[in-house]
């Protein structure tokens, strides 16, 4: 099963390039934040690839910071910018998240290493708890960041799809958002399964999530207007 992070990394970095290109062409803070969230996703899966070759505590901590703590929250932050256009609430939350992310970085970097026994043939998700010790604040932040990210990313995609369905407009965006919601739920469920002791499913859930969200993004951003005639202007 350890080939899965290779595929996830390839798909995710291709996804980062696609979203960042859209940001360069059209602007929009939501696209930039999604690109950032996906970059964190890709760094997390790349860490799994590296940890499949060799063990390094710093890489393990980067894996935890990006994959377990920050990815969902920053992806969800992009959705918040897309849905909350009025006022500066989205900006305020973004700065708050930036501060919390910095705190998370410090907490993970200073977390004491309790063991260096690591088996590269087993998933990192099975072993990280035995290698570095997370304090209560780190665990609390992990849970809160994931709840925030999942609620905003998945909830935002479901809400957007519902609006398109109710208005009967933009079918490709409606289906795209359904795929994004399903894709975002996949690693969220994988992470939750990890929490309840099912560690094997994380890599598969990451790959499924990356593929579904990428297809959903491509559908949602495809050109929808159809030129049917031209008249003299």
């Amino acid at each position: 099963m350890n080939f899965l992070p290779y595929l996830s990394t390839l798909v995710t970095f291709a996804f980062v390039v696609a979203v960042y290109n859209r940001y360069r062409q059209r602007g929009g803070m939501h696209s930039l934040l999604w690109a950032l969230g996906l970059l964190l996703y890709g760094i997390g899966t790349l860490s799994e690839v590296i940890l499949g070759w060799t063990f390094n505590v710093f890489v393990l901590k980067i894996w935890y910071l990006t994959g377990a703590m920050l990815t969902a929250a920053w992806l969800g932050m992009g959705t918040v910018h897309l849905l909350i256009r009025k006022g500066n609430a989205a900006q305020v939350i973004t700065w708050l998240l930036a501060g919390i992310s910095l705190l998370a970085l410090i907490l993970v970097l200073i977390a004491p290493v309790t063991s260096t026994t690591y088996d590269v043939t087993r998933p990192v998700s099975e072993q990280y708890k035995d290698i570095f010790s997370r304090n209560g604040l780190t665990i609390l932040l992990t849970i809160l960041l994931n709840i925030y990210g999942t609620l905003t990313l998945v909830g935002g995609a479901i809400y957007s799809a519902f609006l398109f369905w109710r208005k009967k407009i933009l079918a490709s965006r409606m289906f795209g958002n359904i795929l994004i919601a399903a894709g975002a739920l996949s690693p969220a469920m994988g992470g939750t399964f990890l929490r309840v002791g099912l560690t094997d499913l994380l890599y598969l859930s990451e790959l499924i999530g990356a593929i579904l969200m990428f297809i959903g993004f491509l559908m949602a951003t495809s050109e929808v207007s159809e030129v049917v005639s031209t008249v003299p202007g």
Partner: protein, 49 residues
């Protein structure tokens, strides 16, 4: 030359009328299930976690 764009509305069919709402409800239930599992694990229902 100016262009005229067809309406972005789509014609309702079985897929959009019946299946999409079911998909949305399933996604919503899955989202709630994630939060329920997180809550249960925090409450100590999964000792292996």
């Amino acid at each position: 030359m100016a262009t005229i764009h067809r309406s972005k509305r789509f014609n309702p069919n079985l897929m959009t009328e019946k299946i999409v709402p079911i998909l949305l409800v399933i996604l919503l239930i899955a989202l709630l299930a994630v939060f329920v599992l997180i809550g249960l694990s925090l409450a100590g229902f999964f000792p292996t976690a």
